[in-house]
C-alpha cells in the first residue's frame, strides 16, 4: 500500500516548504529515497495524475502538485488530465491500476 506514501508526499508539498522547493527544482532528486514503487515514481515524475488516481491517490492531495506547479503540472494540465479519466457514477476510477510492486 505504498500509495499511502504518494498521498503523504503530495501533502508534504503543501506542508514542507523545503520539499516543495525541491520538487519544483529537481523532482527526481527530491523523490530519491522515498518509499514508493517504481511505477509511482514514474507517474509522479511524469505528472501522470490519471495513473495515480487509478492507483488510489487522493485528488485533493494530488491537486497540490498542480497548485505548486511541480512535475510539469499546472492548473490547466491537471484539469485536462483528470477530466480525461473514466469514472463510475460515484466519481471513482472505472479502471483500477494495480501496482505489481
Amino acid at each position: 500500500m505504498s500509495i499511502y506514501a504518494v498521498n503523504y508526499l503530495c501533502r508534504e508539498i503543501l506542508r514542507d516548504h523545503a520539499f516543495r522547493a525541491a520538487m519544483a527544482k529537481d523532482p527526481a532528486q527530491a523523490l530519491a529515497g522515498k518509499d514508493i514503487s517504481e511505477l509511482e515514481r514514474q507517474a509522479l515524475l511524469a505528472g501522470d495524475v490519471g495513473m495515480l488516481f487509478r492507483m488510489g491517490a487522493n485528488p485533493f492531495l494530488m491537486a497540490y502538485m498542480a497548485r505548486f506547479e511541480v512535475c510539469g503540472l499546472n492548473a490547466e494540465i491537471y484539469n485536462q488530465r483528470m477530466r480525461a479519466e473514466r469514472i463510475d457514477e460515484f466519481g471513482l476510477p472505472l479502471v483500477v491500476s494495480d501496482d505489481p510492486a
Binding site: Y8, R11, L14, F60, Y78, N79, M82, R83, G91
Partner: protein
Amino acid sequence: MAQIVAGFGVPHTPIFPFLVKRDGPNCETAKLFAAQADRLAAVRPDVIVMFDTDHLNTFFLDSLPIFAIGVDKSFAGPNDEPREVPLYNVRSAPDLAVHIRRLGIESGFDIALSEHFSVDHSIIVPLHFLTPNMHVPVIPIFISGHVPPLPSAQRCYELGRTVGRAIASWNPASRVAVMGSGSFSLEVGGPRMMPGRDYGVPDPDWAARVVSCLSDQKIEALIAQSTQGQLLRAGNVGGELLNWIAMLGAIGGRAPEYIAPQLQNGHAYGVWRW
C-alpha cells in the same frame, strides 16, 4: 444552563476570501456572509460549536476518525494556505468540549479526542467572514465526509441531537451557536471538475433538492435521500452535507429564517433563529 440560540449553515470555499477582497463588499458572496455575520452577532453567542469535515489537514490517512472533537484552549489555522487568509489563533472552550465528548460516549458515539491540532480552510474561511476578530470561542467537531465509507446521515443527525443535549445539560449559563460547514454538490480536484476550473458541481439537481428540503423543513426526507451513493454522486466533497445534518440535529426541529442558495457553487447559506 447553556442554551442553543441559533444554527448556521455555511460554505467554506477557500478562494472566497481572495474573491471578496478583489471584488469588494458589494459582491454576492460578501453580502451573503455579511447577512449571516449580522445575525450571528445579534444572537450574542458565547461559544460556537462547528460541525466540519477536515480535508486531510487536521487528520490524515494514518489515522482518520469518523467523529472527533477538538479539546484545547485554542487552535491555529488555516494550515493549508488559502489565498488572502491570515493565520489566526482561535480561542476554544475545552471544558464544554470535554463535556460534549463525555456525554457523546455515554450515548454511544465514540468521539475521538484531539488535544492539540490545527484546522484548515473549512473552519477558518467561515470564521474569517463571520467572526473576523475571533472573539467567540469555537469548538470543532469533525465528521469524516470525504473518505468513504461515510457515516450515515441518520447517524450524523443523531450525533447532532446528542451534542444538542450535551449543550443543554452544560451548567454554566452560556449562549451557543451551532454551525455546519460545507457544500451539497462539489468536486474538488477530481475528474468531475469543470473545464478550466479546479472544481465542478456534479449534481446541481441534488443541491437544489437539498435547499428545498431545508427550506420546507423536510429533514426526514433529506436524511432518507442522503445515502452514501447520493453523497458520492454529488461530488468528492458531497459528504459535507453531513455537517449541516448534524447541525440540524443539534438545534432541533426549527424553521429556517432563510436559506440563500448559491447553486452555481453547489452550496447555500442558512440561518436558523428563534
